[in-house]
Amino acid sequence: MEHGIVVFFLGLSLILYVTLGGADFGAGILELTAKRSVARRLRDLTYHAIGPIWEANHVWIILVIVILFVGFPRAYAEISTSLHIPLSLLLLGIIIRGAAFTFRHYDAIKDDSQHWYDALFRGASAITPFFLGVCAGAVLLGEMRTDGTFPERFLSPWLNPFCFLIGAFLTALCAMLAAAFILGEVSRRDIMRHIKQRAFAWSLATVVLGGVVLLAGAQPKVALTDRFLQHPVSLLCFAGATVLLFVLWWAVYSERGVFARIAAAGISGAILLGWFAAQYPVLIHFKDGSHLTLDNAFAPPAAIDTLAWTLVGASLLIVPALGALFWIFKRVAHRPAP
């Protein structure tokens, strides 16, 4: 039972990080890919939409890390050794983005330095989900190993087209999430047209890249696609995400912010859940064919038990507080947006 609780929270934290943190990253990507005049408007909207919750959205990754090193310490050690380089780049993105977001709002003097904050915020928003995707790709690709030369051990697990493809897929997914999340905040017509167009474009990019991932995952050594198409939960998630995609398109077309949010969050959750199911119970596929799994990489029972009850206890504190935060600010934030 404690085992199940820990696995549940690991999956949940990752889904929430990709969905909520991902939407924050996506907001930066939308600014990065917009014309200068539009980007300025988007920037105000971004702030309006994610301001109060932006710190909280990024705590989920800390939860993922803590659950990994307490509950599955060998997996944490292997990932942080073999993927040292992409993790460092991911961290660079997290630092720059978090700092720049605060600086551009809290700098007491608004002058040319804002351009620098904007540039840092936008660039970092794009590299973070990309390298998160690269690391996810490396875990499932099966090029990781515990010995070998420097390139074999520290480069080839992640420096390859498959991992970069997953990175691009996750980046597109984040941009799609952001467009769908921001939609409900827009009041100006020209910005609304822009956001709708971007929501369609990024959701198409997500679909196309997702299709390429499934094609690339069909090669025998990855075998992602086979597992994905054989597992009933994965198939169900796949079907769910497809239906939700049409809901998203309808919601975007008819400018229904709440439905767009629910549909986009649902798509992101379904994709991750489908991946978890296809991968279950494997945490890391190694090159020699061995696996670290949720069953063999486990910490001793005493650690799992205290971790499980800590997570349950902490949720009892965090869920109501987080609920109150979302409720207060989504309710009062419906003043006219700039």
């Binding site: 109060p52 909280a56 705590v59 307490v70 944490y76 050690a77 990932i79 003097i109 005493a302 971790l307």
Partner: protein, 450 residues
């Protein structure tokens, strides 16, 4: 230093280990400044906010808002540098985390929860002006401080376990019979957490009071800066006065548990009865003696074991390959204790004047001393962590696992070090620049007051 490491790790790559230790030290040294401010500043902010709600004097409101902008900036940088640390433990010391994670992970998991709550309450506070009922809004500010305090204490408890490992059995390289609760309540957690909490209050309190004292010297009689000092000083002075007592507890604890660390901090080369306390001095590792130190006879024995004739173990009681780098630990210890007494003196003066109802904010020397003291607390915090962490070397888990044995197999940590130094330097410069602009904006806005 390199020679020191070479002795401990024959055959290993010295540069890699040194680079990794330096990167960890820089990351922690950076984060801790923001952690201290993030932990204490909300309480100062809540005190000013309380005065605003009680008196309706707009200066209090201005002060609360100015401080809350500072809290937002420091919290954000503290949050990203803290996120970095949770990864870095694995990036640099994977073998340590692989074994230690399940044992000392309990305080880390609760720390994650406390940090989460802090982020939530901070969101409520910063965006809650004119949105939440006034006193509920005030309460969210206090809750930011309380969850920050909890998260600081929990992280220090995890560090305490590295100094006083407990809650497991260890034989032939295998950890078993683990008990995470016993690990969290290790012998070091209380003294370390108490010392760290007081240090955070003293450093942040004097930092804030000192900053406003410098501004008050530029704008004599300015009500905002006077009020700021009046809020910050009671916190700072009380913490600074209690800190020597907490330091005494810590010294007695270390004398029992990690006598080698105490010997290094005092540069006591020979086991001595009636050992003197050394002030300052330059340890000579060749001759095994300390030059130019002031000796206070019998005092070390008394402070460590409550008896003037007690025997204090010196470095010679331990194999040399288990010694930490003695001069560094000794200098850091001297700096920490010295600053501690300077701040305690300032604190005592403040309480003396305040209790007797005498004005102290018009005394030039006191304001000048306060502004000079602004960085001191943080220097003491850094020095204190050098004593704790470098003083524990060569162990990462005291007496159980060597730091060198837990180093990552990833080569080229020197490049990683350069990369992190660049990132932290950039962040530090940006934050300094931003604070300068906050102050400039505050000053131009304040001309409306007389």
């Amino acid at each position: 230093m390199a020679a020191h490491v070479q002795r401990l790790w024959p055959g290993g790559n010295v540069d890699e280990l040194l680079a990794a230790r330096l990167q960890m030290a820089i990351s922690l040294g950076f984060h801790i400044v923001f952690a201290c401010i993030g932990m204490v500043m909300p309480f100062l902010m809540a005190a000013a906010h309380w005065c605003w709600l009680k008196t309706n004097d707009r200066v209090w409101l201005e002060l609360t808002k100015a401080w809350s902008r500072g809290v937002a900036i420091f919290f954000a940088v503290g949050a990203v540098s803290g996120t970095l640390l949770s990864f870095e433990l694995g990036l640099l010391w994977p073998k340590f985390m692989e074994h230690a994670g399940p044992i000392f992970g309990l305080p880390f998991s609760w720390e994650g929860a406390a940090f989460f709550l802090e982020a939530i309450f901070l969101g409520m506070f910063l965006y809650g002006w004119n949105q939440l009922p006034r006193w509920l809004h005030w309460t969210t500010g206090v809750l930011v401080g309380l969850s920050g305090l909890a998260s600081g204490i929990l992280v220090v408890a995890a560090n305490g376990w590295m100094n006083a490992p407990s809650g497991f059995r260890y034989e032939n390289g295998v950890f078993f019979d683990i008990d995470p609760v016993a690990a969290m309540l290790n012998d070091a957690w209380f003294t370390q957490a108490l010392h760290m909490t007081l240090a955070a209050f003293a450093a942040t309190g004097f930092g804030v009071a000192g900053l406003h004292a410098a501004l008050l010297l530029r704008h004599p009689g300015h009500p905002l800066h006077q009020k700021a000092i009046r809020v910050a000083l009671p916190f700072a002075a009380t913490a600074a006065l209690l800190q020597p007592l907490s330091g005494d507890l810590s010294a007695k604890d270390i004398a029992e548990r990690q006598p080698l660390k105490l010997a290094a901090a005092e540069a006591l080369f020979e086991t001595t009865r009636g050992a003197p306390l050394l002030i300052g001095g330059i340890p000579d590792m060749e001759l095994r003696e300390v030059h130019y130190a002031i000796e206070l006879p019998y005092l070390l024995s008394f402070l460590a074991h409550s008896s003037f004739q007690a025997e204090v173990l010196g470095l010679d009681a331990f194999p040399e390959d288990e010694w930490p780098p003695v001069p560094l630990v000794h200098y850091a210890f001297q700096v920490m204790v010295g600053i501690g007494f300077v701040l305690a003196g300032l604190g005592a003066y403040y309480w003396y004047m305040a209790v007797r109802g005498r004005p102290f904010l018009d005394r030039f020397w006191f304001l000048a001393a306060l502004s000079a003291s602004a960085p001191l607390g943080f220097i003491a915090v850094e020095a204190g962590w050098i004593v704790t962490e470098v003083g524990r070397q060569p162990w990462i888990i005291y007496g159980v696992m060597k730091t060198a044995d837990s180093l990552t197999e990833m080569p080229g940590i020197q490049y990683s070090l350069a990369f992190y130094v660049f990132a932290y330097l950039l962040l530090a410069l940006l934050v300094a620049w931003l604070m300068k602009r906050q102050i400039a904006a505050l000053e131009s806005q304040l001309r409306v007051y007389p």
